[in-house]
Symmetry: C2
Subunit: 231 residues, 2 copies
């Protein structure tokens, strides 16, 4: 009878009853003025017309979910080649009042300099809103999705290198520390922080331009360790 159920559902599907649609929604983070910000756009259609929402798109039959995310990034934000990762799949029955839409949420990280490089007009930059000041309504369950993304990057900042995705290739240690402090939401001790990330970075021989105080050294992220050659 477990099989009968499966049989039923297979037929149910083939005979083309109504069934869920699948979309991706994207939580694109960057840093502005020392704050974590997220990309939001006012919706142009009902429901939630004019209300800020995450960028998203339906998943086409001929593309993987990751490809739908890449397409969404490219078509809606003109971004390419940035870090993204699956977050969670949201499937409450009433999350969209029109019809049943299951949303596979992703988060993405981009550095402010990459944003400017990709969009020299600076128009895209105006669509970012600080996550700690979102005292306005969001469409659908998008507030929940953003909160889920914030929680994820806070957690992953502790044991992965995602913080580097929010900085240019050249960065200083005070900058890197600021990123960690924003993601973790707490201040860090300078000396301890430097010891902890020492093995993830390489110093260049360049310094920042003097600015009323001691210039800081410029670092790069250490390349991912090669698998040991001999075995």
């Amino acid at each position: 009878m477990a099989n009968g159920e499966r049989e039923f559902l297979l037929n149910y599907h083939k005979e083309d009853y109504d069934r869920p649609s699948v979309a991706v929604d994207l939580v694109l983070f960057t840093l502005q003025d020392g704050k974590l910000t997220v990309f939001l756009q006012p919706r142009e259609e009902h429901p939630y017309q004019g209300v800020l929402a995450l960028p998203g798109t339906f998943v086409d039959t001929r593309e993987s979910i990751d490809d739908a995310v890449r397409r969404c990034l490219l078509q809606k934000i003109r971004l390419d080649g940035i870090y993204f990762e699956q977050l969670y799949t949201f499937g409450a029955v009433d999350r969209d009042p029109r019809m049943r839409i299951i949303s596979v949420a992703y988060y993405a990280l981009v550095s402010a300099d990459k944003l400017l490089e990709m969009d020299p007009t600076g128009d895209v930059l105006t669509h970012f809103y600080p996550v700690c000041e979102m005292d306005f309504p969001l469409a659908f369950d998008h507030r929940t999705i953003v909160e889920c993304g914030v929680a994820r990057i806070a957690g992953k900042a502790e044991y992965t290198d995602i913080a580097f995705e929010l900085l240019p290739a050249d960065f200083t240690l005070p900058q890197l520390q600021a990123v960690y402090e924003i993601l973790l939401g707490k201040p860090l001790y300078k000396a301890n922080f430097r010891k902890k990330i020492a093995d993830k970075i390489v110093a260049t021989d360049r310094m920042t331009a003097p600015d009323g105080h001691r210039p800081s050294q410029i670092y790069n992220k250490k390349p991912a360790p090669e698998v040991s050659g001999d075995q």
Copy 2:
């Protein structure tokens, strides 16, 4: 034009072109003979007829994804009220040769005693296979899904209490330690382990029946801490 794209996709959907179907696939873990085992059933239909596969079902329009998981557990394994959690959503275009199916994978944990209680015939127990001995083919991308589940519970065992889900309410510390050792895949030091989990358990006044050596004390999981009353 981002809007035109959205418009197109909305119409694309409404006019009922082919679009992805959504299923849940379930990685149900338990412990047998000191090994982590997973529930698999031979498929009764093509494709992969006769090949072992995870239990799964299509997501109905009127149920949430979590509800689809509950229904799958109940209909296919006759299980109810056990721990489960979303794992990852798999959406490669060719993961199912028949048609495009996006699978929201979940993992679930059940203790061997609960399995027997729910299914006194013991039939369900025969469908579990040790994850470390899966030297046989699996249908679709189900091997990847199982591996994803194994990695997840190994990680979560370190900072959550999921290990308790694999034991009855009454357990001994050697039993609990064995669960952690299986999930983490490494031996633990008895004295250190006991100190570490001391604040998560409460001792009962009961002991196991003597068995050729010193009996062990029976413990229960400490109830989740109440939110402190005064504030």
